[in-house]
């Protein structure tokens, strides 16, 4: 590994992200804030939903914001850099093993996912107003989960970015990512699926479940959530799965 090259590639991604700061910020904040406002503010204040829902919703919103921003920030540039523009070529020709180019993409995606989480958490909290009841009694858990979830996001981005064509990436988001979001236990806890036993088991193949339940366990532990062993087990498993599959796809795509 060549640290100078690796850091230079990270600096390049940071530079581009800084240049697109406003767009990125809007993209990260806009949708979660609409959701938070409608479900966490309007519905709860009007009495349609019980106020406790705020605390239930917030961890899910953070998980989704991190996942979407991580997936997007890795997948979208990769799709175009590998296809029409071939921009990735200058990094593939840099004096570093090409696997590290993929690792750099994952690290850059993790940083963006973490930044998204850091922006969305306080904003959502502010929008919802009082009664969210976050607890920061397990900071280590929170940090660890943030790392695992951001890695998951970036790795899913790596898989998508190296496996899907430019023309299908939109379709991919609506056919694969959208159902993952809705069955990802972000808007309701996993335990709420008790009434649908088959569905409750089926959603366990969805990595987003572990992200949402994970943040729930760390930020609002008073609510029911998956056991910590299952959360960490699921996240580590899916991290490894997507990273290794993404690396394989990257290698295939990068070398003729």
């Amino acid at each position: 590994m060549n640290a100078k090259t690796f850091l230079a590639m990270l600096r390049r991604d940071a530079h581009v992200a800084r240049r697109n700061f406003v767009t990125l910020l809007l993209q990260t904040l806009f949708q979660p804030m609409l959701l938070v406002f409608v479900f966490g503010k309007v519905m709860t204040s009007s009495g349609l939903i019980r106020p406790e829902y705020k605390g239930m919703l917030l961890p899910g919103i953070i998980a989704l914001a991190m996942l979407l921003s991580g997936v997007w920030s890795v997948a979208m540039p990769l799709v175009s850099e590998f296809q029409f523009t071939r921009e990735i070529e200058d990094r593939l020709l840099s004096p570093i093993e090409i696997e590290w180019v993929a690792v750099e993409k994952v690290v850059a995606g993790m940083l963006q996912a973490i930044a998204a989480g850091l922006v969305v958490l306080p904003t959502a909290w502010l929008v919802m107003g009082s009664g969210v009841g976050l607890s920061f009694s397990r900071p280590l858990d929170f940090v660890l989960l943030a790392l695992l979830v951001s890695c998951l996001a970036a790795a899913i981005g790596l898989v998508l970015g190296t496996s899907v064509g430019q023309t299908q990436i939109g379709l991919m988001f609506s056919l694969v990512i959208a159902p993952m979001i809705f069955f990802g236990c972000a808007y309701y806890p996993w335990s709420a699926l008790q009434v649908f036993p088959t569905l409750q088991k089926a959603v366990l193949i969805n990595p987003i479940v572990y992200a949402s339940e994970g943040f729930r366990s760390a930020l609002v532990p008073r609510f029911p959530h998956l056991p910590r062993l299952a959360i960490y087990g699921g996240l580590v498993f899916f991290d490894l799965l997507f990273v290794s599959f993404g690396m394989r796809q990257f290698r295939r795509k990068a070398v003729g």
Partner: protein, 344 residues
């Protein structure tokens, strides 16, 4: 930098067979759910032989040309020599380094100018150069200085701090070359460097290539422009269907064509009797019919042959529809070896 020793290129028995459409390293096409489709479809036995036992040796400090039509395997050769394509068989070396086994040291030594500009569209021209320097570990102050110097040398200073999206083809190409030079490579690969450039930019480009070569850089360029090969290269190899079919200095190669001149006739008919009478004309060394019905006369003169040709055709009552005379050139050489024109 001036005193560093030049480095050569060597390749032995390179073979590349694509069993799926070439991935992006060779061509930039293709889109699809590659990981869904694979395996579900019945396996199609698609085999494209891009390189077929190609060997070559480029001397240190040489400008070496690979001449051939599109699809001859030129870009695949460049891809293999620059670590971007894994050969199916054969080995290649840049200096002492085995290209496939020592990819990182090889990447340090080579600069690559691709056939189609692949510049980083998220960056400005100057940033492209500076970041490229950073990838190669060029110290910060040095890379800023070198970027400025290259921008000046390649006449890009007025657009240096703009995103490259709106650049013209010539500017993109110049910037591509400037980028390849940022880390001071010992071996420079130029894939079709002047394709699509206007004549003026092409001349500038040739000067820049020569200047870089004088500083001790070994250069391998691919082209389907015989004038370019003639103008720049100390030696030229003609490739077709992944094979090398001729090798030598441009002069040697041109001399190797029988007669040197080619008179290409399009006749209403080509009776064998007429062709054998053409063959007996003084100065004609060979007569060949090519695929599209044309007749090529290889001869030691061009226009001077026409009265005789016209007389014989007249006597045989064959109408001449078109005549084209080409002087000794690499283009004719290619025609001679393959029966096809370079542009076909």
């Amino acid at each position: 930098m001036g005193e560093t020793v030049a480095i050569g290129i060597r390749a032995e028995g390179l073979r590349k067979v694509y069993t799926s459409p070439p991935p992006a390293a060779a061509a930039g096409r293709g889109a699809g759910f590659s990981f869904f489709a694979r395996g579900k479809r019945p396996k199609q036995k698609l085999e494209i032989v891009a390189l077929d036992d190609l060997s070559l040796e480029v001397a240190p400090g040489e400008i070496f040309g690979l001449l051939g039509p599109n699809g001859a395997g030129k870009s695949t050769t460049v891809g293999v020599l620059t670590t971007r394509i894994r050969p199916t068989a054969g080995r290649a070396w840049i200096g002492e380094h085995d290209v496939w086994r020592e990819r990182v040291p090889v990447k340090r030594l080579v600069g690559v100018v691709p056939q189609r500009p692949n510049l980083d569209l998220a960056l400005t021209a100057r940033e492209i150069l500076v970041f490229h320097g950073a990838y190669f570990g060029v110290p910060a102050a040095e890379r800023v200085r070198r970027a400025q110097e290259l921008l000046e040398r390649f006449q890009l200073t007025d657009r240096a701090d703009r995103l490259v999206l709106g650049f013209s083809g010539g500017m993109l190409q110049r910037l591509s070359i400037a980028r390849a030079l940022m880390h001071d490579p010992r071996v420079l690969f130029l894939d079709e460097p002047s394709a699509g450039l206007d004549p003026q930019t092409r001349l500038l480009l040739w000067d820049l290539i020569r200047a870089d070569n004088r500083r001790g850089t070994t250069i391998l360029l691919t082209t389907h422009n015989m004038e370019e090969a003639d103008e720049l290269c100390s030696r030229v190899s003609i490739v077709d269907h992944g094979r090398m079919i001729a090798l030598g200095t441009p002069e040697e190669l041109k001399r190797s064509i029988p007669g040197g001149y080619v008179v290409r006739l399009h006749l209403a008919a080509a009776p064998p009797a007429l062709l054998s009478r053409f063959e007996r004309l003084p100065g004609v060394t060979g007569v060949r019919t090519s695929g599209d019905g044309a007749v090529d006369l290889y001869a030691d003169r061009g226009g001077a042959l026409l009265p005789e040709v016209a007389r014989l055709s007249n006597e045989a009552a064959v109408e001449i529809r078109d005549v084209k005379i080409s002087e000794p050139s690499l283009e004719n050489l290619f025609l001679h070896h393959t029966g096809r024109s370079l542009r076909d």
